[in-house]
Point group: C2
Chain length 204, copies 2
Amino acid sequence: MSAPAARTERPAAESGSRRLILDMAARLLRSGGYHQTTLREIAEAVGIRKASLYHHFASKEEIVEAVVGDGVRFVHDAVAAALTGAGQAGPRRRLEAAIAAHLCALHGHGDYTSAAIKVFTFGSGPTPESVRLARRLYEDVWRRLIAELQEAQEVAPGCSAEALRLFLLGAMNGSIDWYRPERFDLGALAREFAALVAPGRPSD
Amino acid sequence: MSAPAARTERPAAESGSRRLILDMAARLLRSGGYHQTTLREIAEAVGIRKASLYHHFASKEEIVEAVVGDGVRFVHDAVAAALTGAGQAGPRRRLEAAIAAHLCALHGHGDYTSAAIKVFTFGSGPTPESVRLARRLYEDVWRRLIAELQEAQEVAPGCSAEALRLFLLGAMNGSIDWYRPERFDLGALAREFAALVAPGRPSD
DNA sequence: TTCGCCCTACCGTCCGGCAGGTAGGCACTG
DNA sequence: CAGTGCCTACCTGCCGGACGGTAGGGCGAA
């Protein structure tokens, strides 16, 4: 239930309570968004009083920033690992693996990534630099993958790399509005998606 | 500025103030979502006191319901008109026209449609039946169009009709997060998306 | 006179955040 | 060993303000 979701980039330097707070915040942010999620709800889910949250975080925005940052890093790591695992397979296979990893991060484990998609922008001020950086680094993964596909001429012509990337990420992230585990299979969905973007021989 | 955006389906039976309230509510909902948008903001934008809103609507949810319903009907009408205009052109051309109409409704005119996408679900209770019906009717337009494309074998194989529809609508609606009029051209974007979904000869 | 439209003033509730206090543990010192 | 001081972690209680919503009155037009 409260398994350490984003263990990848965390050197176990968490105080325990802090991670638990983020777990609960991620769950609430995923289902309710920024304004609907209150500190009282988070504190109640953790089992402490609201004021105690301020021993771990300076503000609500700091909690949300941590959740969103972890969410983006989590999906980034998952996709990067999938691409490494796909190794020198054909670009089409690598695309399929990346799509599956992104969808799995969104729906398979944890609430961090879907919370990161849902709140996208939050708080009063501009998006914190840490989050913007994490987001940019993740976008670059897809930019490189799409360039790879275009170089291998695996992708439908007549669509620019940037439009393709935005289409792809928009369609995948939109799945948080309609995906239900009992109605869809993530692997099949990834295959269908890859077939759409990179038509032709799947055994490449 | 305050041009009647959703004139299409409204037989001018509006009280004037009511339409103005909805215009302002749509603008605020578009940029801030449901919980961020307050009745005080709406009233101030209209130029009246907050309590006066209750002479036209019974609650905040009723205002939002009207905006979202109009937004869905507006994009529905726009896409249906585009398809009628495309007449007996090839399915690929009809798809392009529909995508262009949807994107134009989102970004070209009025705030109703983008507000409808942004708030998707709102309020405490379930989505009102009127909104769910309007949404379902609009979805059917795309279901029919995609069936048309599949029948003509214009669409990439290996992707089911339902997945294709969800991907396409998700990608288009996701554009509210990244579309900037000075960086993209709606017509070009529509062509690129259509090329992605229905690859091959564009002159069909 | 009636009615549509808008007003001022107020309600109870919940928000994020802050001040200040307390219980227990750990380390150091005489 | 006792005593002291500091630390983390949490608590109670409150603040100013914003929220959606309500009550009741004014006022011009028909």
